[in-house]
Amino acid sequence: MNTGRISENDIRHNLINLSQIVFEVTDDCNLNCYYCTYGDLYYGYDKREARYMKFRDAKLIIDYLAEFWRNNTTDAETPLTYFGFYGGEPLLNMPFIMEVVEYVESLHLPRKIEYSMTTNAILIDRYMSFLAEKNIHLLISLDGDRDAHGYRVDKGGRNSFDRVISNVRALQEKYPIYFKNNINFNSVLHNRNSVEGIFNFINNEFGKSPQISELSDTGIKKDKVEQFHKAYQSKIESLQKSENNNSLSDKVFLDNPSTYRAKIYIQSQSQNVYKYYDDLFIDNTTINYIPTGTCIPFSRKMFVTVNGKILQCERIRQNFTLGIVTGNSFELDLKAIAENYNHYLDKMQQLCSICHNKSSCLQCLFHIDKIESSKPICKSFMNKQEFIRYQYNCLKYIKKHQGLYRKLVTSIMDD
């Protein structure tokens, strides 16, 4: 029963069914990307001190979870859990990764385990046999061709493109099946590239469709705002500049922010979208609403920073820590997590109750300005006029793109 708040049991349930645990294996990096969220433009993260996660810390968490998983009934007969490695550049701490993989395999956990990693590919040539042997899913950061990749520079300020492309091609050549099944690309959109350019380059080179993300607009230092805006380019802006906008929009269909907005609108307003069969039996009007669009802790993942802080996601500022692992101690107080989460929810109740877009809200609590103060400021709040304008724009967009509604109501709408 949804009560407008969360309970310790909700969190326990999420841990039992945890689908992803991600270790920030190091905060060190062999590149010095201009727009890195741990770089000069942003605040709100622990100071980068070239630290490397120790296996003993990861082991404490893995053992805790293993006990949870062995002693509780999961929702699925064979649940799938990803162990993810994140950085900095995770390949800089390859001994840790190898130890974790070996240890997890030795536990014979009662679930299916897969591994994943986000990497800049600079060191792939050294470790490709291990990566391929363990079928590790790689998300390679590549912003397009040499010019487009120009913000991804090494410590000496040199473009890393040649090294990256050569490594990726070598991986493809040596392990073609692994490459086909397990390699994907992530590209950051900025003022030196475009959606069309990124898409065409990666598609032509590797036959893959990249994930394209915009520069993060949360946690920008006040004195870096101008610099940020100079480098920033939105997907809509980029698509509008594209010569081949329509066919490109079609290819990056759900990645197009306008389509995404339309999708969310239909999902929340049309009363046509249901997630599971049993949701059809639930009258949503009788369910209490949990403010904001924040995930319940561990419903999607557990993120462990190199300093041992446990967060619900890598995109959340590190002052919203849920637990900590250091040396020989591991703290994760589920009751306190629920209470703390509810404390933030309570702050939003009043504002959310008068928000006209509350049923479509995607706003994460932990990205709300001044959430720690008594008067948080929510950028996603909509009064009646704002909601009418939003509704008008969504409807206009859907109407303008014939066939879009069909695509949306016959497609999978999950993120």
Partner: protein, 394 residues
């Protein structure tokens, strides 16, 4: 002058080769109409979801039947007129089930969490000697014929696995309770599930004070089953949550109604049952006319339910004393109590004996009322019919 007509998002529009039906799931109004060529053309256009329930036409170019039809739709609130430039947009009601079964299979069902949540009701037939040889148990909770008992250890092992919260309702059906081996242990095991549990027992057995004492000591809620009997007493010494009166005919109804009134019973229900010879009674009391179907006040969600699942059987599994598990007792077993709940659910979803058996898949495709009509029931299977619409049958 060009005009744009838009059907509202709450309207379902169904057609067959002769007629059409509009159903407003917000106001519950409906309109059944005959298809002329021009009306049929308009309905086909509106039913193409790419057109977002809107059609543009020239007032001077439409024929009289279509003009009258549009006028009727407007006056009865099914649609609106707007100028070509207006931003009136309607979303035709199309169910988008994100995790439909086809998708779950594609996504590797073994790893798909959440489907365990589908299991909500378990009916466990504990067995015990039952003098009646009828097959009422196929239609409703009622003791099965024969004298088998559920092995205690087997039952205990099985129940231990119902540790999660997804099973909300566990129904145990028993007969010959006084002679049931290990009965106190069984009842104590059952009682550990608290309010989720109910024990179904025939009224005749309750006349035995020993049975009532055993039940009273167990603190289990019971459902008393009345069939082909003339009850005289109401037993207040057990925790009775429901009195279920199974009806073969109108006379049963009269007898039971009088008993209910005299005994002052408020927690009861009537369940008409088919006994092989009372078809008229069932048709008169359970089958529906088209008019009655249209009065069922279904919301959009209800219509979608009728399209996607069997409202009566979704989430329900049955266990026999042999340990075999069924989603439909008239079909093959989908597994045994040694299987995991996950694999039992997968087996039912793959076979689709019951949970997703809709009226559409039951031979009613093409009927205008197919999505309004209640889901197929066991009663129809046992009677050998697949249609409960009296107008259609006539």
């Amino acid at each position: 002058m060009r005009t744009v007509f838009t059907l509202k998002s709450d309207i379902f529009l169904w057609t067959n080769d002769k007629e059409g039906l509009l159903y407003n799931c917000a106001t519950f109004n409906s309109l059944k109409f005959v298809l002329t060529p021009s009306i049929e053309e308009m309905c086909n256009y509106l039913n193409n979801i790419d057109n977002l329930y809107s059609i543009s036409y020239d007032d001077n170019e439409i024929d009289a039947p279509l003009s009258k039809f549009i006028s009727d739709l407007l006056s009865q609130g099914f649609g609106v007129l707007n100028n070509d430039g207006d931003n009136i947009t309607s979303f035709p009601p199309v169910l988008n089930l994100q995790n439909n079964w086809e998708g779950v299979i594609k996504d590797n069902a073994q790893s798909t969490s959440r489907i365990l949540n589908y299991l909500s009701v378990l009916t466990i037939f504990l067995g015990g000697y039952n003098s009646n040889n009828d097959k009422l148990y196929l239609q409703t909770e009622y003791p099965i014929p024969g004298g088998d008992f559920f092995d205690f250890q087997m039952l205990a092992d099985f129940l231990k696995r119902i540790t999660s919260t997804y099973v909300k309702d566990i129904r145990f059906v028993i007969s010959d309770l006084v002679n049931y081996p290990n009965i106190n242990n069984i009842l104590s095991l059952i009682a550990s599930f608290g309010h989720k549990v109910s024990l179904f027992i025939k009224y005749d057995e309750l006349s035995n004070p020993t049975v009532r004492t055993i039940i009273k000591n167990s603190n289990i809620f019971i459902v008393v089953l009345y069939h082909s009997t003339c009850p005289r007493n109401i037993y207040t010494d057990c925790e009775i949550i429901n009195h279920r009166f199974l009806l073969d005919n109108e006379n049963d109804y009269s007898i039971f109604a009088e008993f209910i009134k005299e005994a002052g019973i408020s927690n009861y229900n009537f369940v008409p049952v088919y006994n092989g010879n009372n078809q008229d009674f069932i048709i008169n009391n359970l089958f529906l006319t088209q008019e009655e179907l249209l009065q069922s006040r279904l919301t959009k969600r209800h219509v979608f339910m009728h399209q996607a699942v069997n409202v009566f059987s979704f989430g329900h599994l049955f266990v026999l004393p042999s340990g075999k598990v069924y989603s439909d007792l008239t079909k093959k077993a989908i597994g045994s109590i040694n299987d995991t709940f996950h694999s039992l659910i997968l087996a039912e979803q793959n076979a689709n004996y019951s949970w997703r058996r809709t009226r559409r898949a039951n031979g009613c495709e093409g009927c205008l009322f197919v999505d309004i009509c209640p889901s197929p029931t066991k009663l129809e299977d046992i009677m050998g019919t697949h249609c409960i619409c009296t107008d259609h049958r006539n």
